[in-house]
């Protein structure tokens, strides 16, 4: 072994750059806590004299956390003993975390901007358990990180001789895969397109919440509202249709910019690579994230395409791996900006083409449509009625637009709800203005449940819910005898299968 220069059996400190990294981490935390107060101090009418004290306070905290970071660095050790990876840390309160190596599921690398400048990495160690405590090494030199990974890997190998393939999942690093092949690569143009077709409503909502929160904070700190009231145009129904349109236009413009910047930072230079029996994904401008997914750990594969994405034939692909609930989100790999051919290509690794040749896809019972309409329509009709009663043109128009949107949404989601069950897979298509497709292999199912509301019992229909280790899918409103048949069939498939679901 060429990397014997690292002896992990004696307690080791992290790279010297860890001090920088820790300081960066503290400053970020402190900044996050302090900035609303800073704004309040600066703009809040009543507390203007506090500005100098605030400055002293910030400087004090900054110096203190710098010292703290240095001490923390010297008090942090990690080592391997008795087949366990151990971390010892803590100044005041001593902590000792240990994890048996055979329980380590994946080792992921992360680099934020400090990491990249100092040529170090953060190792995130993932276990199968649902333990919430973070097990990570914040700053290791590249060589040390890969040596540690290699060691963990080889120790795991001796423990689990049978599972040779498992080793590959411990490797997020690309260079150990000579056979790796880039499948998807996001360039600048594609990045722009991804940003363009983001869910702008969501970005807008985020900004809205953000401003609302700042306003609340300012008010709590004693912002004198009347002082500024003259500058703020009055926002009410009286300002008419024109005002609302301007407001909406502004809202969408800001939302649009936010989602552009966000997707640019997040997905910059995205690379999806096919590695031995799995995928490797890396992306990010400031924070570079690298993660990998092994084929056999993947429980569900889906793609989604919203209204805008459909126009330019873009799909977001989600590869969902088995995970405990607490870390579920991290385990879903999102690959934005794939065209249909790329999507099919990625899907084909999990489901050979013949499996996707659906025998026939079926729709759901029409009561699915009727019920939804029945619940929501009275609300909409009351809203329109109220608008007409109040005789406000803007209100009337808005409520009618809303009603048409909701109704067509319900109708489309009924029309698009389709499912296929064949002897290998279950495929669900749904969506309203966008499209979503999810596929799971039969043998990945963990449990099957059949649910009926009182109404469904009267009409002999049922919801069939299929649970996997990375979430469930529901086939709603199908005939009871069909649901029962599918349940019996899928149970038979799971029970007769000897394939390893994980």
């Amino acid at each position: 072994m060429s990397r014997n220069e690292f002896d992990f059996s004696v307690p080791r400190r992290q790279s010297k750059f860890a001090i920088l990294q820790i300081i960066y981490k503290y400053y970020r935390i402190i900044l996050r806590q302090i900035w609303p107060f800073a704004i309040i101090f600066i703009f809040g009418g009543k507390a203007r004299g506090g500005l100098t004290y605030l400055l002293y306070f910030i400087i004090g905290v900054a110096i203190f956390s710098m010292i703290w970071a240095v001490v923390a660095y010297f008090k942090f050790y990690y080592y391997i003993s008795d087949g366990e990876l151990v971390i010892e840390k803590g100044l005041v309160q001593k902590d000792k975390l240990s994890i048996p190596i055979e329980r380590i599921q994946t080792v992921n690398q992360e680099q934020n901007i400090i990491h990249r400048l100092c040529n170090i990495v953060k190792l995130q160690i993932d276990t199968a358990g649902s333990s919430k405590e973070e097990f990570s090494l914040d700053a290791l030199s590249l060589e040390e990180a890969s040596a540690l990974r290699e060691l963990v890997l080889s120790q795991k190998r001796t423990i689990e001789k049978k599972e040779v393939e498992i080793n590959s999942e411990l490797d997020g690093e690309i260079k150990t895969y000579p056979s790796s092949k880039t499948i998807h690569n996001v360039g600048i143009i594609q990045l722009l397109k991804i940003g363009l077709t983001e869910n702008h409503l969501r970005s807008g909502g985020l900004i809205f919440v953000f401003f609302f929160w700042i306003y609340n904070q300012l008010e709590d700190a004693g912002l004198d509202e009347e002082l500024y009231e003259n500058y703020i145009p009055e926002l009410s129904w009286n300002m008419g249709l024109y005002g609302i349109l301007v407001f909406l236009g502004l809202f969408f413009a800001v939302a649009f910019i936010v989602s552009m910047v966000r997707s640019f930072l997040q997905y910059f230079n995205l690379k999806l690579k096919r590695i031995d029996k799995g995928f490797n994904l890396e992306y990010g401008l400031l924070n570079r994230s690298i993660s990998s997914a092994l084929d056999r750990k993947v429980q569900m594969v889906s793609w989604s395409s919203n209204f805008l994405q459909k126009k330019i034939n873009y799909r977001d692909i989600y590869i969902k791996q088995a995970a405990s609930e607490s870390i579920n989100l991290k385990k879903s790999m999102k690959i934005p900006g794939c065209n249909p051919e790329q999507a099919d290509h990625i899907f084909s690794y999990f489901f050979p083409e013949h499996q996707l040749e659906s025998l026939k896809s079926s729709g759901v019972n029409k009561y699915y449509l009727y019920r939804k309409l029945l619940y929501i329509s009275p609300v909409l009709i009351i809203l329109i009625g109220a608008a007409i009663y109040l005789q406000k043109l803007a209100f009337i128009l808005l409520s009618i637009v809303l009603a048409i949107y909701v109704w067509s949404n319900i109708y489309l989601s009924y029309k698009k709800m389709r499912y296929t069950i064949n002897n290998k897979i279950i495929k669900i298509n749904k969506g309203s203005f966008g499209d979503v497709q999810s596929i799971i292999a039969n043998y990945k199912i963990q449990a099957v449940s059949l649910k009926q509301t009182p109404f469904q019992r009267r009409k002999d229909i049922a919801n069939l819910k299929l649970m996997t280790a990375s979430g469930g899918i529901t086939i709603p409103y199908i005939d009871l005898h069909l649901a029962e048949k599918y349940r019996d069939y899928l149970l038979y498939k799971v029970e007769s299968s000897s394939e390893n679901w994980m």
Partner: protein, 187 residues
């Protein structure tokens, strides 16, 4: 490789809906009714003491009407838990286990033995009074796919657990090293 995609006649598969559902132990009605009543007893005591203290121990029409509503809900809840008892039941096949529940919102969950991660018997305070136990079955499918069968006689709960564990282990012997972490964690 020639691929054969023959369709299996799903009409001849073993059917779940023709299975005989085994009801829970009769005493479990008492356990569930006691449980419901205990909950509402605490609610009533809390309400009465808070109301009287904040109202300087004067009893008025508002007091009686709120108390009436709580008692009415208690009555309905008790009735529902009594009626719901008849729906609850389980059945065990060679390779899977099923549990049915829900008076209004009916559901039946089926878990194949070869997907069971962990299985345990637990007894609450009320269960112990009637010599009953709960059987809890966990899969990797998250909390939605976990199964709890209450109101089993203590011995049969333990027997059932032993049976399930032996079934799930014989099937999974080859990959037991992988499932091990889950066992360790919950035991």
């Amino acid at each position: 490789m020639s691929f054969v995609n023959e369709e299996i006649d799903i009409n001849h598969l073993p059917k779940v809906d023709t299975l005989e559902i085994k009801g829970l132990e009769r005493n479990y009605i008492l356990v569930s009714i006691f449980g419901t009543l205990l909950f509402f007893l605490i609610a009533v005591v809390a309400f009465v003491s808070i109301y009287l203290m904040s109202n300087s121990f004067k009893v008025d029409i508002v007091f009686w009407s709120i108390l009436g509503v709580i008692l009415l809900i208690a009555g309905v809840a008790t009735l529902l838990s009594y009626l719901g008892f008849k729906i609850k039941g389980y059945s065990v096949r060679e390779k899977d286990i099923h549990y049915r529940k829900g008076l209004l919102f009916r559901s039946m969950i089926s878990i194949p033995f070869n997907r069971i991660q962990h299985c345990e018997v637990s007894e609450s305070f009320l269960d112990r009074m009637f010599d009953l136990a709960k059987l809890k079955i966990y899969t990797a499918g998250g909390s939605n796919s976990d199964l709890v069968i209450p109101g089993l006689p203590k011995e049969s709960a333990h027997e059932l657990r032993a049976m399930i564990l032996s079934r799930s282990e014989t099937k999974e012997k080859e990959i037991v090293s992988e499932i091990q972490p889950f066992f360790d964690e919950q035991e």
